[in-house]
Subunit: 200 residues, 2 copies
DNA sequence: ACCTGAACACCGTTCAAGT
DNA sequence: ACCTGAACACCGTTCAAGT
């Protein structure tokens, strides 16, 4: 894909992002260097600066792309026009989140670590809010069905999100020890759903 | 404290750690450089290598120190020979954790981001396990009092820990928006405790 | 033991200059 | 518009040498 030299004609930005995502997965954010990416793509070390003001701008773009992917997956898991009870759908949503989180550790760090690069951190927050809203909408549905306690759905979504996000962090930090992640996930979601039920 | 030049006589390691912790709080892990610390302390740039094999070793030492502080605070909050109901003590423990987490953002990142520096990551995991055990012990007490559902206390502790840790992450990422952190914390702990009650 | 100074191989960022 | 090459000010890490 580098053989045609096509980066030099307008798609260097896309090529940088693609390569950056691969490096991020293989070597983490530490291994991400503008000069290294330029080398990989066969352009001069100053070329990336045309498309990303600085290293942080590249990382912000990766985070935005990560949130976009995550939100798409979450919407698919939550919507699905599914006739199943709300609990089953919440569980599916939770598993989807944990799966994504452990499969994209370094990316998640970029998504949730605020490195206020002026403008783009607002875009990131907006995408994060959208993640929470996907959960909130499902919880609201649960409230209408009488399966979820009353209260601001957004605030309840913050709690639900915290549970799965925190669990992914523990998993990545090897703090779950011999507990298989799927079991830990299902227990977490069981406790969460029990706590969200009315009259809990 | 630099005026006596005493770093040159055996306490450079402690001085480096002290300064590093300050830099970490002020500028985050990005701002942490061995050369910078050496400059701040008036020693040569190669001096730190006597005490820390590399930059990661310094960060690991910071993480170990962070976990030690955290665990002390958690023990105080959990033990306290408190006669109050288990729920109140869990709430206090949870608030303690969230307070520590948002007050030491960058440090928490070092504590939970595994950068396997060979030996020391095992020490870190051990300290993390101890954090979980503090929660587990309190939950076990709750089980004996009939206030907490049955099941492996360690696994239930993983869920509880996930909730407060995730909440701290959301707070630091500015994803709680206009929800005051104490309110979000109390709601999270209310949902968690409801979910942990028997017959939830 | 503990620290220094030089050296090497990297960085990010900027900027005049080329096409 | 887009990229190059040189330059500057940083890094981490290593290692002979000093005290």
């Amino acid at each position: 894909m580098a053989a045609d030299g096509s980066y030099h004609h307008g798609n260097l930005r896309a090529a940088l992002l693609e390569r950056a995502e691969a490096v991020l997965t293989e070597a983490g954010a530490e291994g991400l260097s503008l000069r290294g990416l330029a080398r990989d793509l066969g352009v001069s070390h100053a070329a990336p600066s045309r498309h990303f003001r600085d290293r942080q701008a590249l990382m912000d773009a990766l985070a935005v792309s990560g949130f976009t992917t995550l939100n798409t997956r979450m919407r698919t898991a939550a919507d699905s026009g599914d006739p199943r009870p709300i609990g089953a759908r919440m569980t599916e949503l939770g598993r989807t989140y944990v799966d994504f989180a452990v499969a994209h550790t370094a990316l998640l760090d970029l998504m949730f670590t605020v490195k206020h690069a002026d403008g783009s951190s607002e875009e990131l927050r907006e995408l994060g809010r959208e993640s929470l809203l996907i959960v909130a909408r499902l919880l609201e549905e649960g409230q209408r069905a009488g399966a979820v306690r009353t209260g601001d759905p957004v605030r309840l979504a913050q709690v639900a999100f915290s549970t799965v996000h925190g669990l992914a962090t523990l998993a990545v930090a090897s703090l779950l020890d011999d507990t298989p992640l799927p079991e830990a996930t299902d227990l977490a979601l069981d406790v969460l759903l029990a706590g969200l039920r009315p009259g809990g």
